[in-house]
């Protein structure tokens, strides 16, 4: 079902097209992804798993997991959450492992198209866009790629207004910030943008770095630059509970993608797991979209997010059950019920405390993990830092990793907020341009200013935790915080 009215968002839908799901026509709009169109048509089961034949559906909605793979125009393993619909497209459920076509053609190596720049930026979210804008202003030729069909990263689903200073977009909604940054990036002639383009590997060739990219699942591209900024964001965490893979269980971000980016109602009744800021904001956004939020469960003894968000949600009548966890999801091919139970102070289940909620959606807001695969593959030193969300690349105060010329910014560098991602992106973009001898010394001041802004933003109770994690990283490179 598509949202028709929303108090904050207006959904501009493209031309109406028809796609065929298992042979049946489904109405879709240009500019939306296959997964969104199918969800709007009520389809929840996208595929059946390889060994155990379990039904699966959308989970992350940003092309990171493998839950939405389908057969599209005869091609298996297509990530339907980031593949745009086209008129006449044939989409089928994938059952079990994909098979190679019976008549394979003899291999014949292709020469990829080469795209050269000074700096290659992977990821077009708040960090990547700010890196691109600042590196370009410092004089660098920039190429930016993102595997999603739209720029803005997770900003394109944030309806709440930001905190911080005016120059950090305080009081502006995330969706608006995405629009501003996209306009800024697009009007600079020295920024070239490639959407629907996945980076699949990083190589070194003499003085140059090569990012191997694949556009629209079919075109091989070779991006060359002397410096890279990796701003690939984060991946939603999963938790183990019975039937945790049932269609209707989504990462919190996937629900935001459905309702805030594409205007598709995620379901009718929702249970949220996790009362951090993401879970609390999600509850509010669901209510804005006309969805019934039954409860929020949180395993910790108290709410993790900002008090202001928790108070808002409580005022709207959503119970927040602390010291509760999800035991299992129930339902045949999609979520029909969620069973939760209370925990004692030693994290053991208290027998007899089970409660059942009749819900069709379970939202997991249990944290994020930095997406470091490319950095790890490129040989950057990786370290586990709990305060930053898990394994991250060791980097210096200029966001440069242990591989010279590879910079990192945003959630990839440590789970934090869009405001800090933008500041880190600015530092990384300028630092890369300085490292290449493109930017002049006057840009040093801008790095110092961004560093001061970061310190200020991190001086609160939440930020202190992050600052502690960053100190651990800087200790590895002998830098000082």
């Amino acid at each position: 079902m598509r949202l028709k009215y929303h108090p904050i968002l207006r959904f501009e839908r493209g031309k109406e097209v028809t796609i065929y799901f298992e042979g049946k026509p489904v109405k879709a709009y240009e500019g939306e992804t296959i997964a969104m169109a199918l969800h709007a048509a009520g389809v929840r089961v996208f595929d059946y798993s390889v060994n155990k034949n379990r039904p699966r559906g959308l989970f992350c909605a940003i092309g990171k997991c493998s839950s939405c793979l389908m057969i599209v125009n005869g091609v298996p393993n297509v990530r339907t959450c980031i593949t745009l619909v086209e008129d006449g497209m044939r989409v089928e459920r994938q059952k079990g492992r994909a098979r190679l076509p019976a008549e394979a053609k003899p291999p014949e190596f292709r020469e990829p198209k080469v795209v050269s720049a000074d700096i290659v930026i992977i990821g077009g979210g708040p960090a990547g866009l700010m890196a691109a804008i600042n590196a370009a202003d410092a004089g660098a030729k920039v190429v930016l790629l993102d595997e999603n069909p739209r720029l803005g990263g997770q900003l394109i689903k944030q309806t709440h207004k930001f905190f911080g200073k005016r120059e950090q977009f305080a009081g502006v909604r995330g969706v608006e910030i995405a629009r501003i940054l996209e306009d800024e990036a697009r009007k600079r002639e020295n920024i070239e943008i490639f959407l629907e383009t996945s980076a699949v590997g990083i190589f070194q060739d003499g003085e140059e770095k090569i990012v191997l990219g694949v556009r629209k699942n079919k075109e091989l591209l070779e991006f060359r630059g002397r410096a890279l900024v990796v701003a690939t964001g984060a991946m939603e965490r999963m938790i183990p509970f019975e039937n945790n893979d049932l269609p209707g269980i989504y990462g919190a971000g996937a629900i935001q993608t459905l309702m805030n980016t594409y205007g598709v109602k995620p379901g009718d009744r929702v249970l949220i797991v996790g009362a951090g800021n993401v879970g609390l904001i999600l509850a509010y956004q669901l209510i804005q979209a006309g969805v019934d939020v039954k409860a929020i469960v949180e395993a910790m003894p108290k709410v993790g997010g900002y008090f202001v968000h928790a108070a808002k949600v409580r005022r709207l009548g959503v119970p927040i059950l602390t010291r509760h966890t999800i035991l299992r999801a129930e339902g045949k091919e999609r979520v029909e019920r969620a069973v939760v139970a209370q925990l004692d102070d030693n994290w053991r289940l208290i027998p007899g405390t089970e409660k059942t909620f009749d819900v069709d959606v379970i939202a997991l807001a249990v944290g994020l993990r930095p997406s470091i695969e490319l950095l790890h593959q490129a040989g950057c030193q990786i370290k586990f830092v709990r305060e930053l969300g898990g394994h991250v690349a060791v980097r210096d105060p200029w966001m440069e990793t242990t591989v010279r010329g590879i910079f990192v910014a945003g959630d990839t560098a440590g789970i934090e907020e869009a405001t800090t991602a933008m500041l880190e992106g600015k530092i990384a973009g300028i630092a890369a341009a300085l490292r290449l001898g493109i930017a002049n010394e006057s840009w040093l001041k801008e790095i110092e200013k961004a560093q001061r802004d970061l310190d200020e933003f991190r001086s609160g109770p939440f930020g202190k935790h992050v600052a502690e994690g960053i100190r651990k990283l800087l200790a590895e490179v002998g830098g000082n915080a």
Partner: protein, 90 residues
Amino acid sequence: MSGNMIVCRCNDVTVEEIEALIDEGVTDIEELKRLLRIGMGPCQGRTCIPLVLSILARRTGKSPDEIPVPRARVPVRPVRVEVLVGGGDE
């Protein structure tokens, strides 16, 4: 019950299967990866690896920073063979 707790979606690996191998003495994450194919599916470990690390830490009493993440290799995303070689139909 834990037979239905999925850790790796790509290859249908459960909590139970991972715990059973750890209890048999397989505590190296690269060995677990090769035996169970965790992290080797289309998502390349994005969903399962944090879960495997936490199960491993809990079961062996190690702290998470003592357990290395399995190596990341090219391609980090699924790529159609046709994109790299052959085809010529576009």
